[in-house]
């Protein structure tokens, strides 16, 4: 079973999110693998204009391991929108009808519109609103609108063949509406009437029923942003400062809600710069602090990041990438801040850029980021993107003790020099100098963004400039030697095709690999980079050497990562000649569909 469905409706009016979550939580509890991709608008209410603004949730459910929300097409489209006129399709139906696979199903509320007929799909219209209106004549309109969704959920479950899910749905709804109370009762009641309603009608249930398979292992179902927030707390983060921005706000919200309970503090600052500067101040004081933002906010933090590189006070900044440039498309995904993350600062600084690929890696990246920021005393930038950060997916249960593998606590270090001053920027082979923090006796030093001598006093003497600059940049080499993680290779030793990706395209590449191998019998190796900078691409040699075609798949218009690979290829024995790297790019706001990559590979192959 591998089912894809879309729940669509007017944003903030039809209960798209709560309906979708009731469904997917039920599937998750039943043991299914679930991926959710949220497609929403950057307005609040979709219902005020002449043409309603619609949101849709793409949901993929499977009993096998899946890696992403898959292609744009769906088996079932569930339209929660009421529509306005009898003979006019609801906007979300018009928008998304073409996404229904041939032979798929359209499920909609026929109280105000319809019938909607088409030879391409099975159309299931339920007068859901009329039914709840009749059942609860006293209930308020706004409540009826939402209760109605439970009828559609019931019908959908029947169509999915998800017939043993009632107990699960009850427990999910209890969580959602509260264990007692009127709302839960009514929702459960109409859910059941949805189930029986379809039972009396001549609709065929979906061909591959969803069968609950209680999994042996404990699993989680959560968004990338939540995984990262949880992990930050688990790794001893004590200060979060942020500023609201889509799609990073959920991290701010999570921290505001939870960090106090763990002894830390979360503050909303007056702007993005203040939030970054506060992280720098706290890091200078020895704390594990961090800040999350998205493109426009990240641009504003660049000066602070440069300071962090110069003053050698490590700091952790998350950039949940969204479609740029400028304001771009705030609620759409992209991977177009790689160049900005690597090169975006005046002057030259050492820095580390990490791009985790899936929810599990989102969880794993945080303790490592704190550790690297502390060890290397330079900014650590984490690049994620909207699709995985805001999307929900199933994952193995997190191992909380994973964080303990990393040494991210502050400890007093060796004192260098005489008297009260400490040679905080003492030259060393590794480039790393022993840190002191305010409060330590006889370890006074000066920190700042100006070029400085070993104590941090400002200097422009060429000899100091060169010594300290070289020392700073040398840390990058030390990182490559001691902590750089080679890209992860998925595949056999020899392959026809290699797909190179970074960060959040991981799942899409693995899905593509599976499809090409199973359906087309083409062996595919996937090379996935998490450590983006400093870069040592040569480590991918073995995997790439045999591939006849190498594609770099990434979410931007100019092939940013391919450029980085080309830049570094010659110096590091990268086995693919720069000319043979073909880019597969996407920047239409959506995560690329696996079928697009499959077609590109086949086209080039053929």
């Amino acid at each position: 079973m591998d089912l894809k469905f879309i729940v669509s409706g007017v944003q903030y009016e039809n209960g798209v999110e709560s309906t979708a979550l009731t469904m997917v939580r039920s599937f998750f509890r039943a043991g299914a693998e679930v991926f959710v991709y949220k497609n929403y608008l950057s307005t609040i209410h979709g219902g005020t204009g002449k043409i309603p603004g619609t949101a849709y949730y793409e949901i993929r459910v499977s009993d096998k391991k899946i890696y992403c929300s898959g292609d744009d097409l769906c088996d079932i489209l569930i339209v929660l929108e009421f529509g306005r006129k009898k003979d006019e399709l609801p906007v979300s139906a018009t928008n998304y009808l073409k996404k229904i696979k041939r032979g798929g199903i359209l499920l909609y509320d026929s109280s105000l519109v319809g019938p909607i007929e088409s030879p391409d799909f099975v159309s299931v219209g339920i007068p859901a609103y009329s039914m709840v209106k009749e059942a609860f004549p006293q209930e308020k309109e706004t409540k009826l609108n939402l209760i109605r969704n439970s009828i559609l959920t019931g019908v959908a479950f029947e169509l999915f063949g998800f017939d043993r899910g009632d107990a699960i749905v009850k427990s999910v709804m209890e969580k959602q509406f509260g264990a007692k109370g009127d709302l839960l009762k009514k929702n459960l009641l109409v859910f059941k009437s949805g189930r029986t309603y379809i039972g009396d009608r001549p609709f065929m249930p979906y061909q591959e029923p969803i069968v609950p398979r209680p999994s042996q292992r404990k699993r989680l179902f959560l968004s990338g942003n939540d995984a990262m927030s949880l992990s930050a707390i688990n790794s001893g983060a004590s200060l979060y400062t942020g500023y609201p921005i889509t799609p990073a706000s959920p991290i701010l919200e999570f921290m505001e809600k939870n960090l106090r309970n763990f002894g830390g503090v979360s503050l909303q600052c007056e702007d993005e710069i203040a939030a970054a500067m506060a992280v720098l101040g706290a890091s200078y004081g020895g704390a594990n602090a961090f800040d999350a933002t998205s493109g426009p906010g990240f641009s504003l933090k660049i000066e602070t990041i440069g300071h962090s590189g110069m003053s050698e006070v490590g700091m952790v900044i998350i950039n949940v990438q969204r479609a740029g440039p400028s304001t771009g498309m705030p609620t759409k995904t992209e991977q177009s801040d790689l160049m900005l993350a690597i090169f975006g600062h005046h002057g030259e600084i050492p820095k580390i850029v990490l791009a985790p690929g899936d929810v599990k890696e989102f969880f794993e990246v945080m303790p490592r980021a704190f550790y690297l920021a502390r060890k290397y005393q330079m900014p650590v930038i984490i690049l994620t993107s909207l699709d995985v950060a805001e999307g929900w997916s199933t994952t193995e249960e997190f191992d909380l003790s994973y964080a303990d593998k990393f040494n991210y606590d502050w400890k007093p270090q060796e004192k260098i020099g005489q008297g009260v001053l400490h040679e905080r920027y003492a030259d060393s082979e590794s480039g790393i100098s022993p840190v002191s923090i305010p409060g330590e006796r006889d370890k006074v030093f000066k920190m700042g963004g100006a070029e400085h001598d070993q104590y941090g006093f400002v200097t422009t003497k060429p000899v100091w400039r060169k010594t300290i600059m070289d020392k700073r940049m040398r840390k990058m080499k030390t990182f490559l030697k001691e902590d750089f993680r080679a890209p992860v290779y998925y595949g056999r030793e020899r392959n026809d095709v290699a797909l190179i990706g970074w960060g959040t395209t991981k799942g899409i590449l693995l899905e593509t690999k599976e499809r090409l191998e199973v359906v087309k019998d083409i062996s595919v190796g996937v090379v996935h980079f998490i450590d983006m900078w400093p870069m040592k691409p040569g480590v991918a040699s073995k995997a790439l050497a045999s591939a006849r075609k190498v594609f770099v798949v990434e979410g931007n218009a100019t092939g940013e990562f391919a450029s980085v690979l080309r830049l570094k290829a010659s110096e590091d024995g990268f086995p693919v000649s720069p000319a043979n790297l073909s880019s597969v790019l996407f920047y239409d706001g959506r995560p690329i569909e696996p079928r697009t990559i499959v077609n590109t590979v086949l086209g080039k192959e053929g």
């Binding site: 203040a274 101040g281 602090a289 502050w410 330590e440």
Partner: protein, 335 residues
């Protein structure tokens, strides 16, 4: 250690100031060093025979929590290794190199947000952000107005010479309309802002204005007065703002030491029954044109909960060990 010994200590291991001869920044630096030296020696004296301290439990940091004083505090708190002088960019922003404390220099205009993170994570430190009028009220204006509401326990020193010095004579937010300089011969096109009025109305809980020009003609000693007020500002639990009215002998040919001397007058001489707890009186006083009078002293002082008090933070936010059982509880939401 006595006052003199501390004063000497605060001047050790520093660089020679790179300011112009007669720069007003010297006047602030002298006041700061004297105030810290007095606070440090007084604090030692008070705690000479005190043994009732609670350890912070962070290795390397020796400050302890004093259990004998009525107000909870860390000790030592005013000594070179427990003070952070921190600044933005500009002539005034060089001060961190001329005083023997931990020193930090943020980017231009960002001294306050830097101290927000630092002090929040490190309540054991005495944090003194500092800068000039351009740093504080032009590029840093957004922070100046927003930061105050947190009432974080820091003391922000702003030297106000009403002109950009380091970049050679451009207009600042407080430049009076009659100020003409070499690079701006017609003077500023906009009215100057009133930082005291902004401060009082945006939540600073201690606002003082000082001038250090030695003795006035009537014998009033502005240096000693400034040291006294600055000590009060540093001791004040909450966000303290201390504005030093200073001269820029190179680029502001009007606001000279003599000009300041003629106009400086203690608030008590202007308003004998002045009550600094009343914001409305502070606002009124802030409207006195500087060409006429420069009233010095505490304009505004109220005691409100500090950020640390509101959050209940009593120790540094370092090496936090999160309760894993609680995290497991959080995870239940996702299973």
């Amino acid at each position: 250690m006595d006052k003199a010994a501390f004063q000497k200590l605060f001047q050790e291991n520093t660089k020679d100031p790179q300011w112009c001869p007669g720069c007003g920044d010297f006047t602030e630096l002298n006041v700061l060093i004297r105030a810290l030296a007095e606070l440090a020696s007084e604090d030692r004296e008070i705690h000479k025979n005190v043994n009732d301290f609670e350890e912070m439990g962070i290795s390397g940091l020796e400050a302890k929590i004093c259990k004998s004083c009525p107000e909870k505090h860390f000790y030592p708190r005013y000594e070179p290794h427990t003070v952070v002088t921190e600044s933005g960019i500009g002539c005034a922003g060089q001060m961190f190199a001329y005083i023997n404390t931990y020193g930090a220099k943020a980017t231009h205009g960002r001294a306050l947000p830097f101290s927000l993170g630092l002090k929040l994570a490190r309540p054991d430190l005495t944090v003194i952000p500092q800068g000039g009028d351009g740093d504080a009220w032009a590029i840093g204006a957004g922070h100046f107005a927003n930061f105050a509401g947190f009432n974080l326990d820091i003391t922000y020193l702003v030297t106000n010479n009403e002109v950009y010095g380091l970049t050679k004579g451009q207009m600042s937010p407080t430049s009076p309309v009659w100020l003409k300089t070499g690079v701006n011969p017609t003077g500023p096109i906009r009215e100057p802002m009133n930082p005291i009025a902004v401060a009082v109305s945006s939540g600073w809980t201690f606002v003082a204005r000082l001038v250090n020009v030695g003795k006035l003609t009537n014998g009033f000693n502005t240096a000693e007065f400034s040291v006294d007020i600055l000590k009060k500002a540093i001791k004040h639990p909450g966000s303290s703002l201390v504005i030093f009215e200073t001269e820029c002998p190179t680029y502001n040919k009007v606001k000279t030491k003599e000009w300041l001397k003629e106009r400086t007058v203690p608030i008590s001489d202007v308003e004998p029954n002045y009550n600094p707890a009343l914001a409305i009186d502070a606002l009124k006083l802030s409207l006195v044109p500087e060409e006429e009078k420069i009233p010095i002293g505490i304009y505004y002082q109220v005691r409100r909960s500090t950020l640390h008090e509101k959050l209940g933070i009593e120790k540094p936010l370092i090496n936090l060990k999160p309760d894993r059982e609680k995290i497991k509880k959080l995870l239940e939401r996702y299973s």
